[in-house]
């Protein structure tokens, strides 16, 4: 892994933006990332985690760390039926794990790209959402993130989701209530 210097300014701005969006975050070193993430999930009462097939997940060896905490690991793509993916069957405390392609410091937005290893529904089908974000993927503005994702001249991903905090609805009395359809909580593990 090429060591890209991580700007403290971008890191601090992202953490502040995530907090504003009622997401939580922690900054960890590469070596400790798997263990720290697993501990966070265990504390949140997570019973099952759905992991994308991604080099970052493999590098921090998240699957092994989760199993050590007694958390069931499901690898994406999964053979689970649609009802179970939606949480209508099986354990309720499911956590969908994502590896964002980019994150926007200014707004606390994660850019999730669909691919064979990364389902487009991972974060919204589950009760909790944990994102593993390599710190060098933080950019300043949304315009920059969109340009990097779409204005490449090459083929664009079939689905990109911009996620800015846990699911919420203000449809009842205009007051924001968490966990409408997607994840009730969002936690971002920033890996340095």
């Amino acid at each position: 892994m090429a060591a890209t210097p991580v700007s403290d300014h971008l890191l601090d701005a992202l953490v502040a933006s995530l907090t504003r969006r009622t997401a939580t975050s922690q900054v960890v070193d590469d070596a400790d990332a798997g263990r720290a993430t697993a501990r966070w999930m265990a504390d949140a009462g997570v019973a099952r985690a759905v992991l994308p097939r991604d080099p970052v997940i493999a590098r921090i060896d998240l699957g092994a760390a989760l199993r050590r905490e007694g958390i069931e690991v499901i690898d994406w793509p999964t053979s689970l039926g649609r009802r179970e993916v939606l949480g209508l069957e099986g354990p309720e405390a499911v956590c969908g794990v994502t590896v964002p392609a980019l994150a926007v410091a200014e707004r606390g937005t994660l850019v999730l790209e669909a691919s064979p290893g990364h389902g487009r529904g991972l974060d919204v089908t589950s009760r909790h959402h944990v994102a593993i974000l390599p710190a060098e993927r933080i950019v300043e503005t949304l315009a920059e993130a969109l340009a990097r994702t779409f204005a490449t001249g090459g083929p664009v991903p079939s689905a990109v989701s911009l996620v800015s905090g846990p699911s919420r609805s203000s449809d009842i009395e205009k007051i924001s209530t968490l966990g409408a359809h997607g994840a009730v909580s969002e936690h971002v593990v920033i890996v340095r």
């Binding site: 969006r21 209508l88 487009r120 529904g121 949304l142 079939s158 689905a159 989701s161 205009k174 409408a180």
Partner: protein, 471 residues
């Protein structure tokens, strides 16, 4: 691809709406609960707008947003062609529908051909405009609205009262009552968290069953053929990722040129709509799932609806096509805040609805010709619009275009009035004549009832029979 036909007149305003606009307005004004609910919503939005202006430079962003949208509308035919080509290149299908009926026929036919029995929908004004739910239900297909506010209204058999906050006219107690009736049990919590959790579980069953997901489109990006769907709840992502088929319905004016344009519009939209600098979820979808991907729809269909929009290009009303449907003009409007969206009798309410409903329907449609008069012309909507549409000016022009027995009568009256005032002699004769008339007509120094067209004036006031009036 379908053949282009002349746009059909009519069809935007709800055909089954009860009473006249005046009757609905009077009724809404008497509903104290409604007024409290609307005021709560509008003032929380207004407080948020202050923050957007102060901390996020929203005023500076407007000028560029206006420039972008005007350019998009000018280039619309080329952008739509590019959009269409790029969606097809990504493996999606594109249909251009001249009107709502044609769009509904295509989607209903597709659902029937694929054996779809349950459709999960995310919030879309375009589908509300073309009355897609009725068309699908008439073919025996079950349609479930999955946006929390839209689902509440579907259960209550009500129409949306706001573009982005459809159930804003209802309070928590009313929602709990609606959920209890649907669930057939009193075992539904009263608090907001409980109500949201209840809806989540009920609607997951729909996502598990649905064979087709139908969404709207906030903007289409021509350069890559991507549709952008902006939401807060996560239901639009489920609608576009769980069912086997995704149908996106887009008004033809919603297209932007490239990701530069898109980035700016995607930023200003949530600022204007919900006073936040980002929506929770923005779904950017380019065609169906690709080879090797294990979720997402196998088929993607983009239905582009004209419905009278194309004919507005090059007219004095062209700028209404810049609208990004944020709902800011509704919240800012003292009329909307007093009566809510349902009184308008159209999916599009508030200042923008008062202009576009009669434009899309034709100037003499009885259902919408009075709508441009639902305004005090205070100008608040013009200040609120994030894409700088001159709404107050367009309201005045829409009034000039309106044609009904009442507007024709007042046009004759004003012509007579202007003839009378234009010459000194007729003016003086008129003044003397009027003085004599009110002196004879009045009792105890006051005229309490005028005949003919003056009756409306004296219904709520008296006119002095001489000046100065007798106390």
């Amino acid at each position: 691809m379908s053949t282009r036909r002349q746009r059909s007149a009519g069809g935007v305003a709800y055909p089954d709406i009860k009473g006249t606009l005046h009757e609905r307005t009077v009724q809404a004004l008497g509903d104290q609960t409604l007024r409290t609910n609307l005021e709560t919503a509008a003032s929380s939005w207004a407080a948020g707008q202050e923050v957007m202006r102060r901390d996020h430079g929203m005023d500076e962003m407007r000028a560029r947003a206006r420039e972008i949208r005007r350019r998009n509308i000018r280039d619309l035919p080329a952008l739509l062609g590019e959009m269409q080509a790029n969606v097809r290149k990504a493996g999606g299908q594109v249909v251009r529908a001249a009107d709502g009926a044609e769009a509904c026929r295509y989607i209903t036919g597709l659902a029937q051909a694929r054996g779809v029995t349950v459709v999960a929908k995310s919030k879309s004004m375009a589908t509300e405009e073309i009355r897609l739910n009725e068309a699908l239900e008439a073919s025996g297909i079950e349609v479930v609205e999955t946006d929390l506010g839209e689902w509440i209204l579907q259960l209550a058999h009500q129409r949306p009262s706001h573009i982005i906050a459809p159930a804003v006219h209802l309070n928590r107690g009313q929602v709990a009552e609606i959920f209890r009736r649907e669930a057939g049990t009193d075992d539904v919590p009263d608090d907001r968290e409980g109500l949201v959790a209840h809806a989540r579980v009920r609607l997951r069953e729909t996502f598990a069953q649905a064979g087709m997901g139908i969404s709207g489109v906030n903007i289409g990006v021509a350069s890559t053929g991507t549709v952008c769907i902006v939401e807060n709840e996560g239901n639009a992502r489920l609608v576009t990722s769980q069912p086997r088929i995704h149908v996106a319905v887009m008004g033809m004016e919603r297209v932007v040129a490239d990701w530069d344009d898109a980035a700016h519009i995607l930023q200003i939209l949530p600022m204007a709509a919900i006073s936040q600098d980002a929506a929770n979820y923005v779904n950017l979808i380019t065609g169906p799932r690709r080879e090797g991907e294990s979720d997402g729809p196998e088929e993607f269909h983009l239905v582009i609806v004209d419905g009278g929009r194309g004919a507005l290009r090059g007219t004095e009303f062209e700028e209404v096509l810049s609208c990004i449907r944020c709902g800011a003009c509704l919240y800012s409007c003292p009329m909307w805040r007093s009566v809510g969206g349902q009184a308008y009798g159209s999916p599009y309410s508030g200042p923008i609805g008062a202009i576009i409903t009669p434009l899309l329907e034709g100037p003499s449609s009885p259902a919408s010709r009075d709508l441009p008069f639902m305004s005090s012309l205070c100008g608040a909507c013009g200040d609120a619009c994030p894409v700088g549409i001159p709404l107050p000016d367009l309201l005045v022009r829409a009034r000039a275009r309106a044609s009904s027995p009442a507007t024709r009568k007042s046009a004759v009256a004003f012509r007579a009035w202007s003839l009378l005032l234009r010459r000194g002699l007729t003016y003086r004769v008129g003044v003397v004549g009027w003085r004599l008339f009110v002196r004879v007509r009045g009792t105890d120094g006051w005229v309490t009832r005028l005949p003919g067209g003056g009756a409306g004036w004296t219904r709520v006031r008296d006119m002095p029979a001489r000046w100065p009036p007798r106390r």
